[in-house]
Symmetry: C2
Subunit: 314 residues, 2 copies
């Protein structure tokens, strides 16, 4: 999925970054991938970004504005439980950049102030930082009756999940605003729901399973505008290349993938003794909702956004 | 051992860094530990360096020369086989710095040009990058007759090992000279032999086992002067706090430690099928030379050097 988004976004990245990157290219150009996982997708994504920056560099060079080629410094971020050993061992040999790993939650500032030129995040912002508290609160109308996902059209649960998505994405943007130089860019790809008109569709409600929130493009816009640190330079919905993943849904593999990503987080909420049962339930749920899952999570669109850090933030 | 050196150097670090650090403190102060292993020693070492920089900051602040407190950015480097997952999981919580991991050989440039203010390396430079080629060459007078260490007073082998140490330390210094700003500092602690008068002592020859070279203070000086990128601001030999490690030598643990550090490197030279036998031989060798090993490697001095990057290097 992620690789599909990386490949699918290449065109729009090549087109928008050289145009929208209006800073003087520094001697050391710093890029970071937030939620990089263990590779190799992150290496392809970083390569695309660097090539796009080099397009910009070549055009300024032709105009005789800049002579020296920038050195690239790439920070690979993911939470502390990510397997950085594997990431480091699979870094491309002879890579034309300096590579570092940055452990920690991307909802917090992870790099020094005004030290970054482009922040990238692909297929990571849909994961919520934690179960919305209301969903776990018996006294709340959003109380999810012991389930860990939202199986029907339960409005209060939906509201709680969207509030959590908003809070998480806002924290992400505020942290990046600290790290980025004025005029620095944020490139995000988030899997989402298509054609949303601001209504909460039944499909979307179902996609909340396991702390996943798939926003509409309007919701992404709303969060960026609310945050006030960035201008939206480009936003669009893209489809995966149709031939990218035509294999049928492998439920066992999907459960294993989700477990790898979320087990640590879920253990804190539900206790380690419940993990096997919980992921067994997930498998059953996926089996029951196979068509829906295929349609919403696997086959549908993702949102691409290019944001520019404003100069007048407080 | 390393922890002893970290604690033992604290005084000289607090005394020399505030005096010798003659750069304007930047908004982001960047420090790197080269050969950091998995912690916690590296965390104590970095803490000492930061406190010494803050002493400098406080004195400039009192003189009204500088107002804002610098942010610290710490790069933890070790080779790609180091366990960065453990390093990251044990990073001090609420640490007052941004932390990144940098995989790769410190004999190469690992960070962007002129991006670093202080480079630190403790108990790492004594490990050679590879077996000197002459030692493995049957036609050479330094051919070590199938042994992987130097068991006696074999002058040619000694010469080959020192040449390798020189080449490695020179590569280390050249790489740091690229990374450091003008006036930036290098702080190194290297276990060594005491009271050397330029002669190769029998003890030293024995300490070559397994790609380890313990230099004299004159040899360290010679390599730095040859390199031409740094001025020596302070160099001295220090002893471990006498009560630091009074336990008897644990041969099994020592073999396991060495194996953890060097197995990957040695596998390339000797073949993975020979590793068990090789470390068994090391155990026997340590048993036979227990007193000597205790004296040279465990109880003796280490050299402390503070170097400053010159401004006029080519």
């Amino acid at each position: 999925m992620q690789r599909g988004a990386v490949e699918g976004s290449k065109g729009v990245i090549f087109e928008t970054i050289p145009e929208k990157l209006n800073i003087n290219l520094p001697k050391t150009f710093r890029i970071a991938d937030f939620g990089c996982s263990t590779g190799p997708n992150t290496f392809f994504a970083m390569k695309n970004i660097m090539e796009a920056v080099m397009l910009k560099h070549q055009s300024t060079q032709e105009a005789n504005l800049q002579k020296t080629t920038p050195e690239f410094h790439v920070s690979f971020n993911d939470h502390v439980d990510n397997d950085f050993n594997t990431l480091f061992k699979t870094l491309p040999p002879n890579r034309p950049y300096f590579a570092v790993g940055v452990p920690g939650s991307f909802h917090c500032q992870l790099l020094p102030e005004a030290s970054l030129h482009i922040a990238h995040s692909s297929y990571a912002l849909q994961w919520l930082s934690h179960v919305p508290p209301e969903v776990l609160d018996k006294g709340s109308p959003a109380w999810n009756k012991g389930k860990i996902y939202c199986a029907g059209n339960e409005k209060e649960v939906t509201k709680a999940y969207f509030a959590q998505f908003k809070a998480d994405m806002d924290a992400f943007l505020k942290a990046r605003a600290q790290e980025l130089v004025e005029g620095g860019l944020v490139v995000v790809q988030i899997p989402g729901v298509p054609n949303s008109k601001g209504n909460i569709t039944e499909e979307k409600v179902d996609s909340f399973n396991l702390l996943l929130y798939l926003p509409s493009i309007e919701e992404v816009k709303m969060v960026v505008e609310m945050d006030k640190c960035f201008t939206i330079e480009k936003i669009c919905s893209l489809s995966h290349p149709s031939n990218y993943d035509s294999r049928p849904l492998d439920i066992e593999r999907t459960c294993a993938d989700v477990r790898a990503i979320k087990e640590n987080l879920m253990r804190d909420h539900f206790g380690s003794e419940n993990m096997d049962q919980l992921f067994h339930l997930l498998g059953q749920n996926l089996q029951k909702n196979q068509l829906l899952y295929d349609k919403v999570v696997r086959q549908d669109v993702y949102h691409f956004a290019l944001l520019k850090r404003k100069g007048d933030i407080i």
